[in-house]
Protein backbone atom coordinates (compact mmCIF):
# COMPACT_ATOMS: atom_id res chain seq x y z
CA UNK A 1 0.00 0.00 0.00
CA UNK A 2 1.43 3.25 -1.25
CA UNK A 3 0.57 5.48 1.75
CA UNK A 4 2.20 3.03 4.17
CA UNK A 5 5.36 2.85 2.11
CA UNK A 6 5.57 6.63 1.99
CA UNK A 7 4.94 6.94 5.72
CA UNK A 8 7.75 4.48 6.38
CA UNK A 9 9.99 6.68 4.24
CA UNK A 10 9.07 9.66 6.45
CA UNK A 11 6.76 11.40 3.97
CA UNK A 12 4.37 13.47 6.10
CA UNK A 13 2.09 14.20 3.13
CA UNK A 14 1.02 10.54 3.30
CA UNK A 15 -0.23 10.91 6.87
CA UNK A 16 -3.74 12.26 6.21
CA UNK A 17 -4.51 9.97 3.23
CA UNK A 18 -3.34 6.97 5.27
CA UNK A 19 -5.58 7.91 8.20
CA UNK A 20 -8.52 8.62 5.91
CA UNK A 21 -8.11 5.32 4.09
CA UNK A 22 -8.20 3.29 7.30
CA UNK A 23 -10.14 5.28 9.87
CA UNK A 24 -13.63 4.41 8.72
CA UNK A 25 -12.76 0.82 7.87
CA UNK A 26 -11.33 0.28 11.33
CA UNK A 27 -14.39 1.91 12.88
CA UNK A 28 -16.75 -0.25 10.83
CA UNK A 29 -14.88 -3.38 11.92
CA UNK A 30 -14.75 -2.39 15.59
CA UNK A 31 -18.39 -1.30 15.56
CA UNK A 32 -19.55 -4.61 14.17
CA UNK A 33 -17.27 -6.54 16.53
CA UNK A 34 -17.87 -4.50 19.70
CA UNK A 35 -21.60 -3.83 19.29
CA UNK A 36 -21.64 -0.40 20.94
CA UNK A 37 -20.79 2.81 19.17
CA UNK A 38 -18.93 4.29 22.16
CA UNK A 39 -16.82 1.15 22.55
CA UNK A 40 -16.19 1.04 18.82
CA UNK A 41 -15.00 4.65 18.72
CA UNK A 42 -12.69 4.09 21.67
CA UNK A 43 -11.30 0.88 20.21
CA UNK A 44 -10.87 2.48 16.77
CA UNK A 45 -8.93 5.39 18.30
CA UNK A 46 -6.79 3.03 20.39
CA UNK A 47 -6.11 1.02 17.25
CA UNK A 48 -5.06 4.10 15.28
CA UNK A 49 -2.73 5.17 18.07
CA UNK A 50 -1.20 1.70 18.32
CA UNK A 51 -0.68 1.63 14.55
CA UNK A 52 1.39 4.80 14.64
CA UNK A 53 3.19 3.87 17.87
CA UNK A 54 4.33 0.61 16.29
CA UNK A 55 4.89 1.85 12.76
CA UNK A 56 8.55 0.87 13.06
CA UNK A 57 7.39 -2.75 13.34
CA UNK A 58 5.57 -2.76 10.01
CA UNK A 59 7.82 -5.05 8.03
CA UNK A 60 5.93 -5.31 4.76
CA UNK A 61 3.93 -2.26 3.59
CA UNK A 62 2.26 -4.48 0.98
CA UNK A 63 0.51 -6.29 3.82
CA UNK A 64 -0.37 -3.22 5.87
CA UNK A 65 -4.09 -4.02 5.77
CA UNK A 66 -3.63 -7.36 7.53
CA UNK A 67 -1.27 -5.71 10.02
CA UNK A 68 -3.82 -2.97 10.78
CA UNK A 69 -6.68 -5.42 11.28
CA UNK A 70 -4.58 -7.63 13.51
CA UNK A 71 -4.11 -4.64 15.82
CA UNK A 72 -7.83 -3.82 15.61
CA UNK A 73 -8.75 -7.41 16.41
CA UNK A 74 -6.51 -7.43 19.47
CA UNK A 75 -8.09 -4.23 20.81
CA UNK A 76 -11.58 -5.61 20.20
CA UNK A 77 -10.65 -8.72 22.17
CA UNK A 78 -9.31 -6.63 25.05
CA UNK A 79 -12.49 -4.56 25.11
CA UNK A 80 -14.68 -7.66 25.07
CA UNK A 81 -12.75 -9.24 27.94
CA UNK A 82 -13.76 -6.26 30.05
CA UNK A 83 -17.45 -6.60 29.20
CA UNK A 84 -20.16 -9.18 29.66
CA UNK A 85 -20.99 -11.02 26.48
CA UNK A 86 -22.77 -14.14 25.36
CA UNK A 87 -20.56 -17.16 24.68
CA UNK A 88 -19.93 -18.01 21.05
CA UNK A 89 -21.85 -20.85 19.53
CA UNK A 90 -21.08 -23.12 16.60
CA UNK A 91 -23.15 -22.86 13.44
CA UNK A 92 -23.93 -26.37 12.36
CA UNK A 93 -23.88 -27.01 8.64
CA UNK A 94 -27.05 -29.01 9.10
CA UNK A 95 -29.07 -25.99 10.21
CA UNK A 96 -27.90 -24.07 7.14
CA UNK A 97 -28.79 -26.69 4.56
CA UNK A 98 -31.16 -25.53 1.85
CA UNK A 99 -33.49 -28.49 2.43
CA UNK A 100 -34.47 -26.85 5.73
CA UNK A 101 -36.08 -23.91 4.01
CA UNK A 102 -39.27 -25.49 2.81
CA UNK A 103 -40.76 -25.91 -0.62
CA UNK A 104 -40.49 -22.36 -1.83
CA UNK A 105 -37.32 -21.43 -3.73
CA UNK A 106 -35.21 -19.09 -1.63
CA UNK A 107 -33.30 -16.26 -3.27
CA UNK A 108 -31.44 -13.22 -2.15
CA UNK A 109 -32.81 -10.34 -4.18
CA UNK A 110 -30.71 -9.25 -7.12
CA UNK A 111 -31.31 -5.59 -6.36
CA UNK A 112 -29.43 -4.33 -9.39
CA UNK A 113 -32.18 -5.76 -11.58
CA UNK A 114 -35.08 -4.19 -9.73
CA UNK A 115 -36.63 -0.78 -10.51
CA UNK A 116 -36.44 0.40 -6.90
CA UNK A 117 -32.80 -0.69 -6.80
CA UNK A 118 -31.41 2.09 -4.63
CA UNK A 119 -34.01 1.76 -1.88
CA UNK A 120 -33.79 -2.01 -1.93
CA UNK A 121 -30.00 -1.91 -1.86
CA UNK A 122 -30.23 0.32 1.21
CA UNK A 123 -32.72 -2.04 2.84
CA UNK A 124 -30.58 -5.02 1.93
CA UNK A 125 -27.53 -3.31 3.39
CA UNK A 126 -29.39 -2.61 6.65
CA UNK A 127 -30.63 -6.18 6.80
CA UNK A 128 -27.14 -7.46 6.04
CA UNK A 129 -25.81 -5.41 8.92
CA UNK A 130 -28.41 -6.88 11.26
CA UNK A 131 -27.61 -10.36 10.00
CA UNK A 132 -23.88 -9.84 10.50
CA UNK A 133 -24.45 -8.64 14.04
CA UNK A 134 -26.51 -11.75 14.72
CA UNK A 135 -23.65 -14.02 13.60
CA UNK A 136 -21.55 -15.54 16.37
CA UNK A 137 -18.28 -13.58 16.72
CA UNK A 138 -16.10 -16.35 15.37
CA UNK A 139 -17.96 -16.27 12.04
CA UNK A 140 -18.53 -12.51 11.93
CA UNK A 141 -14.82 -11.75 12.27
CA UNK A 142 -13.99 -14.04 9.33
CA UNK A 143 -16.79 -12.66 7.12
CA UNK A 144 -15.76 -9.07 7.86
CA UNK A 145 -12.12 -9.66 7.00
CA UNK A 146 -12.60 -11.95 4.00
CA UNK A 147 -15.66 -10.46 2.31
CA UNK A 148 -16.05 -6.90 3.55
CA UNK A 149 -12.33 -6.07 3.78
CA UNK A 150 -11.27 -8.44 1.00
CA UNK A 151 -8.30 -9.91 2.86
CA UNK A 152 -6.94 -13.17 1.45
CA UNK A 153 -7.59 -16.45 3.22
CA UNK A 154 -3.94 -16.52 4.29
CA UNK A 155 -4.02 -12.97 5.69
CA UNK A 156 -7.31 -13.61 7.49
CA UNK A 157 -5.84 -16.75 9.03
CA UNK A 158 -2.83 -14.79 10.22
CA UNK A 159 -4.90 -11.92 11.64
CA UNK A 160 -7.18 -14.26 13.57
CA UNK A 161 -4.55 -16.89 14.52
CA UNK A 162 -6.46 -19.61 12.69
CA UNK A 163 -5.55 -22.20 10.10
CA UNK A 164 -6.58 -21.50 6.52
CA UNK A 165 -8.92 -24.50 6.63
CA UNK A 166 -10.69 -23.07 9.67
CA UNK A 167 -11.04 -19.70 7.91
CA UNK A 168 -12.59 -21.42 4.89
CA UNK A 169 -14.98 -23.42 7.03
CA UNK A 170 -16.10 -20.43 9.09
CA UNK A 171 -16.43 -18.24 6.02
CA UNK A 172 -18.65 -20.79 4.33
CA UNK A 173 -20.89 -21.23 7.35
CA UNK A 174 -21.01 -17.48 7.96
CA UNK A 175 -22.01 -16.84 4.36
CA UNK A 176 -24.66 -19.55 4.48
CA UNK A 177 -26.12 -18.08 7.65
CA UNK A 178 -26.20 -14.61 6.07
CA UNK A 179 -27.78 -15.99 2.91
CA UNK A 180 -30.43 -17.66 5.01
CA UNK A 181 -31.14 -14.47 6.99
CA UNK A 182 -31.34 -12.34 3.85
CA UNK A 183 -33.52 -14.85 2.07
CA UNK A 184 -35.96 -14.78 4.96
CA UNK A 185 -35.97 -10.97 4.75
CA UNK A 186 -36.74 -11.02 1.06
CA UNK A 187 -39.58 -13.46 1.66
CA UNK A 188 -41.02 -11.29 4.42
CA UNK A 189 -40.79 -8.23 2.20
CA UNK A 190 -42.76 -9.85 -0.61
Amino acid sequence: MEWARRLLAGDESAFTPFVESFQNRIFQYTWLMCGQREDAEEVAQDTLLKIFESFDQLEDPERVKAWVFRIAKNYCLMKRRKSVFAPDRELSLDELLPGQEGERPIQVADTAELPEGRVLRQELSEELERAMRALPDTYRSVVLLRDVEDLSTADTAEVLDLTEDTVKQRLHRGRLALRKSLAAYVEKAQ
Partner: protein, 94 residues
Protein backbone atom coordinates in the same frame (compact mmCIF):
# COMPACT_ATOMS: atom_id res chain seq x y z
CA UNK B 1 -29.99 -36.44 -16.80
CA UNK B 2 -30.95 -36.83 -13.19
CA UNK B 3 -32.57 -34.14 -11.13
CA UNK B 4 -31.46 -33.92 -7.53
CA UNK B 5 -33.69 -33.13 -4.62
CA UNK B 6 -31.17 -30.53 -3.49
CA UNK B 7 -31.62 -31.09 0.19
CA UNK B 8 -29.66 -32.69 2.96
CA UNK B 9 -30.84 -36.15 1.96
CA UNK B 10 -29.04 -35.99 -1.34
CA UNK B 11 -25.37 -36.92 -0.81
CA UNK B 12 -24.27 -35.58 -4.19
CA UNK B 13 -25.71 -32.15 -3.48
CA UNK B 14 -24.41 -32.22 0.07
CA UNK B 15 -20.87 -32.80 -1.13
CA UNK B 16 -21.09 -29.89 -3.57
CA UNK B 17 -22.89 -27.73 -1.05
CA UNK B 18 -19.93 -27.95 1.35
CA UNK B 19 -17.54 -26.66 -1.32
CA UNK B 20 -19.56 -23.79 -2.77
CA UNK B 21 -17.76 -20.94 -1.03
CA UNK B 22 -14.38 -22.24 -2.13
CA UNK B 23 -15.82 -22.65 -5.61
CA UNK B 24 -17.08 -19.04 -5.61
CA UNK B 25 -13.66 -17.86 -4.37
CA UNK B 26 -11.76 -19.88 -6.97
CA UNK B 27 -9.95 -21.79 -4.23
CA UNK B 28 -10.74 -25.34 -5.34
CA UNK B 29 -8.12 -27.35 -7.16
CA UNK B 30 -8.74 -28.36 -10.75
CA UNK B 31 -10.24 -31.75 -10.00
CA UNK B 32 -12.63 -30.49 -7.31
CA UNK B 33 -13.64 -27.55 -9.44
CA UNK B 34 -14.46 -29.88 -12.31
CA UNK B 35 -16.49 -32.12 -9.99
CA UNK B 36 -18.57 -29.14 -8.83
CA UNK B 37 -19.10 -27.94 -12.39
CA UNK B 38 -20.11 -31.37 -13.60
CA UNK B 39 -22.61 -31.64 -10.77
CA UNK B 40 -24.20 -28.23 -11.21
CA UNK B 41 -24.45 -28.71 -14.96
CA UNK B 42 -26.97 -31.40 -14.15
CA UNK B 43 -28.66 -29.82 -11.15
CA UNK B 44 -30.76 -26.66 -11.64
CA UNK B 45 -31.62 -26.35 -7.92
CA UNK B 46 -27.88 -26.29 -7.09
CA UNK B 47 -27.37 -23.60 -9.73
CA UNK B 48 -30.16 -21.58 -8.16
CA UNK B 49 -28.63 -22.00 -4.73
CA UNK B 50 -25.18 -21.09 -6.06
CA UNK B 51 -26.57 -17.91 -7.64
CA UNK B 52 -28.18 -16.84 -4.39
CA UNK B 53 -24.92 -17.49 -2.53
CA UNK B 54 -23.01 -15.42 -5.09
CA UNK B 55 -25.47 -12.53 -4.71
CA UNK B 56 -25.12 -12.71 -0.95
CA UNK B 57 -21.32 -12.59 -1.21
CA UNK B 58 -21.60 -9.65 -3.66
CA UNK B 59 -23.79 -7.80 -1.14
CA UNK B 60 -21.18 -8.44 1.59
CA UNK B 61 -18.41 -7.11 -0.64
CA UNK B 62 -20.38 -3.91 -1.28
CA UNK B 63 -21.39 -3.52 2.34
CA UNK B 64 -21.19 -0.02 3.79
CA UNK B 65 -22.20 0.39 7.42
CA UNK B 66 -24.81 3.00 8.25
CA UNK B 67 -22.62 4.61 10.87
CA UNK B 68 -19.45 6.51 10.13
CA UNK B 69 -16.95 7.83 12.60
CA UNK B 70 -16.32 11.54 12.79
CA UNK B 71 -13.05 13.21 11.78
CA UNK B 72 -9.99 12.52 13.90
CA UNK B 73 -10.00 15.10 16.73
CA UNK B 74 -7.06 17.56 16.46
CA UNK B 75 -5.62 16.40 19.79
CA UNK B 76 -5.59 12.76 18.64
CA UNK B 77 -4.08 13.75 15.29
CA UNK B 78 -1.24 15.43 17.18
CA UNK B 79 -0.66 12.27 19.23
CA UNK B 80 -0.74 10.08 16.11
CA UNK B 81 1.87 12.24 14.37
CA UNK B 82 4.11 12.27 17.44
CA UNK B 83 3.82 8.50 17.78
CA UNK B 84 4.64 8.04 14.08
CA UNK B 85 7.68 10.31 14.29
CA UNK B 86 8.93 8.50 17.42
CA UNK B 87 8.47 5.15 15.67
CA UNK B 88 10.40 6.37 12.63
CA UNK B 89 13.20 7.62 14.86
CA UNK B 90 13.42 4.20 16.54
CA UNK B 91 13.49 2.51 13.14
CA UNK B 92 16.21 4.89 11.98
CA UNK B 93 18.39 4.19 15.03
CA UNK B 94 17.84 0.43 15.04
Amino acid sequence: MTTHQHDKRDPACLEVFAKLSEYVDGELDGVECQEVEEHIADCPPCVEFLQSLKRCVAAERQFQGREECGPVPPELEKRLKSAWQAALARRHHA
